[in-house]
């Protein structure tokens, strides 16, 4: 196993991939979080006929027109969680929704995903600067607009800041807050604090999914790291299980690219998220759950499942994929 730190920079990710392919002669690359990085290193990997198993990034380009025989998106197509929440907000009978995201491609994609299933009135579609820290101005506008619900797509620190300030502005409990699961994952919940309690979010995995492999994963993770696993950890674990299944199936002969691809596509492993199989574009067909942020018996913030929004959901780009 050869590791490298991409530093969230596309050029560094590409250099690392080139080095792993040319000097280290690797068979499989995995581990990128960001979509722009995944897009940057695919040309090198395809040229070298090396597989990329994405444990998070699932950009629409790679799901549709630019789908790639050497790419497997193990987590989700990026729109999935947003689509699921759009569907939930629609089924909740929300009439006027307020949508917020950072002003960059993934932000626009996220809100497009919500609107694909939410058919009510959009009371406001607000784009903020990427990396913005303070949302006071936007929260004042939000209060004045008085919507029935607000959907936020704010990854990382932006989400932590927004949810804390949302509570401090006295909006919590007045306007229901919805978001994608990764904004309320167990790695950021401790930093958000009780402001996150009761927020509804959608994800393809949750710590309380009841199957033996998931129980084993959650217990093992907690024992090893003394904290609760997040969706990112779960996705990475599934990626490892997938790779394990493919290596076993090919009997370790990874030089035969077609056999390895067939083995990966078969995805004969017990996913900790329950139902999972690959679509023709190498993206998952899977369930999406509605989760609520609660406190567990040790007082830690975590998510529990409150329902299933989509069963066997496939992404909308698969039809454009020719492979």
């Amino acid at each position: 196993m050869i590791e490298g730190d991409d530093q969230q920079k596309p050029d560094i990710a590409k250099q690392l991939a080139d080095r792993m392919v040319e000097r280290d002669d690797v068979d499989v690359v995995t581990g990128i979080i960001w979509s722009n990085l995944a897009l940057a290193l695919m040309p090198s990997l395809e040229r070298a006929e090396v597989f990329f198993l994405s444990p998070n990034a699932g950009p629409s380009q790679l799901a549709g027109k630019q789908c790639n025989p050497f790419f497997f998106g193990v987590a989700y197509q990026n729109d999935g969680q947003h689509e699921a929440m759009g569907q939930h907000m629609q089924s909740q009978g929300i009439k006027r929704a307020y949508l917020m995201a950072p002003n960059y491609p993934a932000g626009k994609d996220a809100l497009t995903g919500v609107k694909r299933f939410f058919k009510g009135e959009v009371a406001g579609e607000v784009y903020t600067a990427v990396g913005q820290l303070d949302y006071a101005a936007e929260l004042a506008q939000l209060r004045a607009a008085a919507p029935d619900g607000v959907y936020i797509f704010y990854p990382g620190g932006m989400g932590i800041n927004f949810v804390k300030q949302f509570e401090q502005a006295g909006l919590k409990g007045k306007v229901p807050l919805f978001g994608p699961g990764f904004s309320f994952s167990e790695d950021s919940l401790p930093a958000i604090g009780d402001a996150a309690l009761g927020v509804m979010n959608t994800a393809q995995w949750s710590g309380d999914i009841d199957n033996p492999q998931n129980r084993k994963f959650v217990q093992g993770f907690e024992a090893a790291y003394d904290r609760l696993p997040s969706v990112y950890a779960a996705q990475a674990y599934d990626t490892a299980l997938l790779l394990d299944s493919a290596v076993r199936k090919t009997g370790g002969k990874l030089e035969d690219k077609d056999a390895l691809r067939a083995a990966l596509k078969a995805a004969e492993f017990k996913s900790i998220r329950g139902d999972f199989k690959f679509n023709a574009n190498h993206f998952p067909i899977q369930d999406y759950y509605l989760r609520e942020v609660v406190k567990d018996d040790k007082g830690r913030l975590t998510n529990v499942i409150r329902g299933t929004v989509f069963e066997d959901h496939a992404d909308p780009y698969a039809a454009e994929c020719r492979m």
């Binding site: 784009y127 600067a129 303070d134 006071a136 101005a137 004042a140 620190g157 300030q165 502005a169 930093a191």
Partner: protein, 306 residues
């Protein structure tokens, strides 16, 4: 856009302004007196937030946590001055930029080693957790009001310190002619160290106050540092009064642009386009403001060595 909303946005602008002032005051003091560009100023902001997030739960009080964190951050600042920066005063600005950029990387890694990569939680004190209805119909977060109060109090304190005390006199003298000050028998080295400690403590105070609103995480100082530089360039390098005016101006313009531009653009173009474009324009406004101010007054509004 009604009046109440405008009042609320005005408060938001004021609050952002005083936060930026806490950062800019220290940075501009250090520049004005030592002629030193210190990119690592944001690291003291981060250290202030982390120390507060560590001590506030231990002492079971946010205020006590801040009171412990500030002197510690000042000590860190003074240590950095003595160990690393002292050798850089006579070097060119480019050398200082490179060295202090190295310090940013050093402090980010240090924080990652000590506190871990995950963001940590810091809550406002319970009595400032809710909202206050300043005028009927405008509930405003109590903690943000407290930030405005603390920021204005610090501005008064700095004004008195610089204009009315012997230390302030030395600081002003050091800014205009350090050779002469040394010749008069003042320990300039010690003065620099003290001023640097004061600057670090101000940045740490900004970080401590930001902690309960924002995420306490590695690298949190960098994004605020860029805004801080905009503030001191607008206000005039080396001037505390300029830092105050610049900070309030930037805070107000940034907040108002984010609140008003999308609404204004909606009047002339379809909503979805207006929202995206409004956001892009809003994030540019402070740089446009900076360009306008510099075109009018190339050395900022209140340059120290005019």
């Amino acid at each position: 856009m009604n009046t109440l909303l405008l009042v609320e946005q005005g408060l938001n602008g004021l609050q952002l302004g005083v936060m930026l002032f806490l950062m800019a005051a220290g940075l501009t003091l250090v520049f004005g007196i030592m002629d030193m560009i210190n990119l690592a100023h944001g690291s003291f902001y981060m250290i202030g937030a982390y120390l507060t997030a560590t001590f506030a739960p231990l002492l079971d009080s946010f205020v006590l946590g801040v009171l412990v964190a500030l002197p510690l951050a000042a000590l860190v600042g003074m240590a950095v001055e003595m160990v690393a920066l002292r050798t850089l005063y006579r070097r060119e600005h480019l050398d200082q930029v490179l060295a202090t950029f190295g310090l940013i990387l050093f402090f980010n890694e240090l924080v990652r080693i000590v506190w871990g990569p995950q963001a940590i939680f810091l809550s406002p004190p319970a009595w400032l957790g809710g909202t206050v209805e300043i005028i009927p119909g405008v509930p405003y977060p109590a903690f943000r009001l407290a930030i405005i109060g603390v920021g204005l109090a610090v501005a008064c304190f700095l004004y008195l310190l610089i204009t009315r005390t012997r230390t302030g006199m030395l600081i002003r003298a050091g800014a205009s002619n350090r050779e002469m000050l040394g010749a008069l028998g003042v320990d300039v080295k010690r003065l620099y160290t003290l001023v640097f400690g004061l600057g670090a403590a101000l940045a740490a105070l900004a970080g401590a106050m930001a902690g309960p609103i924002l995420a306490v995480q590695v690298g949190m100082g960098e994004s605020v540092l860029i805004l801080t530089f905009v503030v001191i360039v607008i206000g005039g390098l080396g001037s505390v009064r300029g830092a105050l005016v610049g900070a309030l101006l930037v805070g107000m313009v940034d907040t108002m642009a984010r609140a008003l531009l999308p609404t204004l653009l909606r009047a002339v173009m379809p909503p979805s386009q207006a929202d995206g474009m409004g956001a892009s324009l809003a994030s540019m406004t402070i740089y446009i403001l900076m360009a306008a101010v510099l075109a009018w007054k190339p050395r900022g509004l209140f340059p120290a060595h005019a």
